[in-house]
Amino acid sequence: MDLLTTLETIIAELTLLQSEIAILSGAILLLVVGLFRPPTLVLKAIFGITLLAGFLLIGDHDGLVLNQFVQLDRQANIFKYLILASTLALLLFPSHRFQNVEYYFLLLSAVVGSFFMIDAHHLLITFLALELTSFASYILTNFRFRRSSFEASIKYLLLGAVSSAIMLYGISLLYGASGGFLLAHLPDSKLSIVGLLLFSVGVLFKTSVAPFHIWTPATYQETPTEVVAFFSVVPKVAGLILILHIQQALPESLQSDMILFWMGLALVTVVIGTFGAIYQKHATRLMAYGAIAHSGFLLPMVVLSTEMSFGAFVYYAVVYAVMNMGIFYFLSLHDQHQITELRDFGGYGKQYPWLGAAIVVVLIALTGLPPTAGFTAKLFLFSTVWSYFHTSGSLLILTYFVIGILSTGISLYYYLRIPYQYFLTDGRHKILKVSKVQIVLVTFFAVVLLLLFTRPDILGSFVVTYP
């Protein structure tokens, strides 16, 4: 094929990435407009319009394009919508003075990175997409410009750099084992397995799966709360889809080995997240450990390929995004009045009983109890795990099943500490002002969670199923 026809194919195939290209162009436009120091409203408008454009331009092509570098997966499109919706929800959060051009630019670039994490097929793209998301995250961690946030951001950067280096080393071993950058061609050898384990470190770091979760609590504590909401949903969901695609691309003989690895880590993650949360005194830090535990719950559904695992993952991911947006929205309302430690939350239940009631619903959903969608999500998860246990009979899966249910029970204790402070203690050292609109928004998140419990099939109508 001569150069001209190759270029024509590339131009034709690039249009399949129009959603990514739209967001990228929006990000660059934002930078250019930013030179003229426009009011924040203009920035927010460009940010919103870019995301909407990305929303509308998501295609429905299926298959490998651009010389097998990019894998378009119609089924995974729902997660692109989820990512865009979660990012758009950031506009609802209370305004801060640090919301400038760079802030919105970095958010958009992290979204582009996450999209490419979903699209990646070639290992080079996987690596670059992870790096793009990571670099944006390192800088976003620092937007409070305090000494402690500098520290958190440097720790995050160093740990992230090390995990990327390990990942690159893994990729080089995979290249040595298979003679290429495509996972499908891996032979069943020890070298492939060592390479895969090292390669997965980078992905597991982004999805904060133990033992690569160490950055999560410190970073979440110091990052602006709406960025935490972003971190806990967008890169995590994209990373999990990446794991799904990695698992699918592997030859069958390697898949079963890797399932043991993923499930072992998921088990450790659930335990560490649950027990780490018990001793926390800082509200965002508590939620960080909660998010770690949820990584452990999300991971099995992408690696165990049973009939219902993908549907269960879609449901859990959507519910997880709603829950996290809800709780971090609630925390950001308090955060702007310097209410961050758990004991600061005392007594506001009398002032804002409705807000307290709404957040109880969100927290019960995070725990995974009825009558909220969190329960249905956990139910789907555990039935997936159980049905896989039936076909495989693996003891590890059974252990995960038991430990998972037990830690759901334990998590009730720490999630309900905020309502406990809110309603049953009396503190109120600081002044809290919450507007009616903000209470309505928290209620909205709670209502969505109740609605998804009573009518789980609502989601089904959004998930376009392809034959």
Partner: protein
């Protein structure tokens, strides 16, 4: 041993020794200078494997650019009283356990492969620069553009962080 073999083992040993040196030295400047030797040694290996372009890039960007950046970083950092920037190692035992376990599996994995490489290394045409340039704009276009955007993000981030530095 052919002269190529002699050169190969020479570069290999120099790179390895300098790498171990980086681990053992506590002075950051010494580590940076040893890093230059490692990078040049790898560049030598590239030349032996006929990847001239990679070798030139290695010398220009890594040995020339990155190490100079590290040296600048050390010079601009606040010094302790004796004027030397020292580092230390923590958690030596766990690190030793993890890395020796990994090393064991790597050796096993490589030994089991016979022959080690199953595929012929693709022969690059005479004019490597033209070939690589064309590959960037055709096969690797997505990766190329992504890297460009990553650089933009990093640039924006660096400028932003530097601008706000004085407030601390």
């Amino acid at each position: 041993m052919t002269p190529i073999d002699v050169a190969f083992f020479f570069f290999l040993i120099v790179t390895g020794l300098a790498g171990i040196g980086i681990l053992l030295t506590r002075n950051v400047i010494h580590a940076a200078m040893l890093l230059v030797i490692v990078l040049l040694g790898v560049a030598g290996l590239y030349v032996l494997f006929r990847a001239e372009f990679a070798a030139v890039v290695q010398v220009l960007i890594y040995a020339g650019g990155i190490v100079v950046l590290i040296a600048f970083g050390v010079m601009l950092t606040n010094r302790p009283e004796n004027g030397k920037l020292m580092t230390g190692n923590h958690l030596v035992l766990p690190a030793l356990l993890v890395s020796s376990g990994l090393f064991y599996y790597l050796v096993q994995g490589i030994q089991l492969l016979d022959p080690i490489a199953t595929q012929q290394v693709a022969k690059l045409p005479e004019d490597q620069v033209e070939y690589i340039g064309a590959a960037f704009m055709t096969d690797y276009i997505v990766a190329f553009e992504l890297i460009a955007f990553i650089l933009l993000v990093v640039l924006v981030g660096a400028a932003y962080l530097a601008k706000h530095h004085s407030r601390l």
